[in-house]
Symmetry: C2
Subunit: 330 residues, 2 copies
């Protein structure tokens, strides 16, 4: 097994050490495994806390910063953070206006964030939660009751983060976060499994000619195995599934996301097909991201996430953001 | 072979189509394979033109934009652009203050950019060139006489781009570009080969326990094959080679670069080791990048690039940049 690691037991803390060294804008509590903005909480601002298993970087820790998250709680690889992390993060980022939990719909995450919210509430912290469940590939899965939460998490964190920055109330920030999720859908296709740093073993098996249609971000099964084909076909499968669930049209925020091991030139080719598909539906790419945003370690493949924008969401998407994973100017 | 492509013959133009669709700030001349800023040349500003084989994305096309390149000329995968592309790009971006060619030291690139510069000069265009040759791994290689040009290209494009934006003369912009190259060194280590989209074949063979020390960005051989080891050892090998060539110390710009197929969590772990190494040498990480910047398709591994900063270079590094590959606010 060949990985850029020192010790399987210290992967997450070693990565946090590197993240701290590379980002003076962050304060990284390595003992408790929480990444904060170095600037600390701002009085009157809603605090945004997210988290989830490691191995999906830049999600979530690289989205901590101005205009996005206040704290991120990474678990072990593909393992939920524990309630203590989430409680501690919430207390630290509370500026008196309450805290929003942004939770991807995986059973472990849902249970641990819920427990954290309840325990924090008992200590007097006001907490609201938004559940992200944008993946239309499967109804239930190995790790989930209901739809899985994937790429839309980036949109929810960015857009609700912008609103929180403007001083909006917890109710308002939670409303917008929910609205983004409601308007967003995702679908992923894997060309290869990922390999876990601990074992070096692939998370599932695919032959040299097979792909996994509707794969989850931990490599969990999707809708079907199929023969590999041209990317135009793969994009057609993904976009048909999305369009069937949420009819496409008008201004669309589009992310073509790499799963960690796919070359960027392939993602651009994929984006061209998504753009052509949307135009065919009378929709248009209004805002776009192409790159690795919600990864599955070194899996090869892509996911596409769309969000049907309105004026409010577009304005909040365009608002300044300063994180290591997403950044544009004030 | 499983790749996100439609046709081996249209990989570069399909990718350019996607890049155009995703980036309204770019004007993409697909027929001539040139990526420009949509805003066009600015009168009195030196135009920056770079280019090279495709497969290294985000280099170069994603670094076209305010504060960085004016145009990029992608060749076929791992193949130099032709002189016609470079001549055309130079004419288009000339704002009357001349054009700087930023050229990675590979024989094909050097010859084609030189020919382009000569032909453009005959037509009255003022052209200066900077050759980037930061890779200390090998003296000559399969594709190069002298050192190869790798990660420092990102630094050269960013820093000289910032100076050009301020209205400096071609002589000044070329001086700073040369200075950045002089102060920069790189070293790369591959865990796996990359696979070419055309053939699906790996560019070289490595066993499950072997790594390539000093690999080039096309998978060309480095200094040695070695057994895989903890990343601390690998970073030690890379940084020792750099330090031997350019003694490390003081404020350092550091890039830990993924080769396209390595997970981001591994790159953070690698960065932690680079930071520890530098501190051991009395140097410090003054500015940092962690991610995929100069890739080799889907190769797994990393390269580290350092630049010993001075006040001028730091100020120019911090200047605003608005490209899809590198961006921070004005």
């Amino acid at each position: 097994m060949k990985k850029l690691i020192n010790d399987v037991g210290t992967i997450v803390t070693d990565a946090l050490t590197g993240m701290a060294a590379a980002n003076p804008g962050l304060r990284v509590d390595i003992a408790n495994r929480i990444v904060y903005r170095a600037s600390g909480p701002r009085q009157g601002k809603v605090g945004l806390v997210s988290g989830g298993g490691s191995g999906h970087e830049p999600l979530h820790a690289a989205f901590v910063g101005y205009g996005m998250l206040d704290a991120a709680c990474p678990g072990e690889i593909f393992t939920s953070p524990v309630p203590d992390q989430v409680i501690e993060a919430g207390k630290e980022v509370d500026g008196g206006a309450g805290v929003l939990h942004i939770v991807k719909n995986y059973t472990g995450d849902v249970l641990n964030f819920r427990l954290a919210a309840e325990l924090a509430a008992e200590e007097g912290l006001e907490v609201a939660s938004v559940l992200v469940n944008d993946d239309v590939a499967v109804r239930d899965s190995l790790y989930t009751a209901g739809r899985r939460g994937t790429g839309a998490t980036v949109f929810v964190e960015k857009i609700s983060g912008a609103l929180a920055e403007s001083g909006a109330s917890l109710t308002e920030v939670a409303r917008v976060a929910t609205e983004v999720n409601k308007r967003s859908r995702s679908f992923g296709i894997a060309l290869t499994p990922c390999s876990l740093p601990g074992t070096g073993k692939p998370t599932f098996e695919l032959s040299d000619t097979e792909i996994e249609i509707g794969v989850g971000i931990h490599g969990e099964p999707g809708r079907a195995r199929a023969a590999a084909g041209p990317v135009r076909e793969l994009v057609g499968i993904a976009m048909d599934a999305i369009d069937e669930d949420l009819p496409l049209g008008d201004d669309t925020l589009v992310m073509v996301n790499g799963m960690g091991g796919t070359s960027l030139i392939e993602l651009y080719i994929t984006f061209a097909e998504v753009d052509a598909y949307l135009r065919g539906k009378g929709a248009n790419v209004s805002r776009a991201l192409v790159g690795n945003y919600v990864t599955s370690l070194d899996m090869q493949g892509f996911s596409v996430t769309v969000c049907r924008l309105n004026d409010e969401l577009t304005r909040l998407w365009d608002a300044p953001v300063e994180t290591s994973g997403l950044r544009w100017g004030r």
